[in-house]
Amino acid sequence: MPEINRRQRQKLGYAYTFLSDPKAEVIRRYDLLHRGAGPKGTDIARPGEFLIDPSGTTRWVNLTENIAVRARPQQVLKAFDDMQAKGGP
């Protein structure tokens, strides 16, 4: 929900966009649904991280198999640098 995201974003002090997918439609389209893993058995997203170039092509993906292990900022920045160095898809 936008309102909850707005508060959470403010609390964490993040400047990037937070999008809401309350019915998990986009989560499903990206095959990232974690059935029943949310509060009261609701469906939520499993973690997934993508770097997408302006043509809409995936240039880097991280699909962790451990909730505690997420991509580190340096990994994403490196993927971005690699992408810039390589140019087009």
């Binding site: 302006p54 993906v61 909730i67």
Partner: protein, 142 residues
């Protein structure tokens, strides 16, 4: 002769408890979050103190107390460690595989969702005005 307080047992138990409770703190740092080194060290320290305490309670029963409390604290310590191991090494890894997620070189599906201010945001629009977009899916039940 009055028996001495078997502090080793209590210190050991406190270490085990700290090993469990401190993960929320250590989870803030990638090094101790990805693998719980710090927590396992605390558990190891707890184990050493508990074993020492048990040796004192049963080996030097005339000197130290803890014949009753020793096994109880040790059992609780093991239980806490077991629960931590189960949560960290099993539960956190119960992430469903994602075979259909966009792979490197594949186009991602476009979408429009509401941002934190309730404004429609289309991925396509973001891509048109950026050098790249980092798309992060959070579990997000905050």
């Amino acid at each position: 002769m009055k028996q001495r307080w078997n502090w080793s047992l209590w210190i050991g138990f406190l270490f085990a408890l700290a090993g469990f409770l401190s993960y929320t703190f250590f989870a803030q740092f990638p090094v101790t979050r990805d693998f719980p080194w710090a927590n396992l060290l605390l558990f190891a320290a707890g184990g050493i103190f508990l074993v020492l305490g048990l040796f004192r309670a049963f080996g030097k029963a005339q000197v130290y107390r803890g014949k009753v409390f020793g096994p109880i604290l040790a059992a609780l310590g093991i239980l806490i460690f077991g629960f931590f191991s189960y949560a960290f090494f099993y539960q956190l890894r119960q992430v469903p595989p994602s075979t259909g997620a966009p792979r490197v070189g594949q186009k991602v599906p476009d979408f429009t969702l509401l941002d934190q201010d309730g404004t429609d945001v289309a991925l396509g629009d973001l891509l048109r005005r950026s050098k790249a977009v980092a798309l992060i899916f959070y579990r997000g039940f905050w």
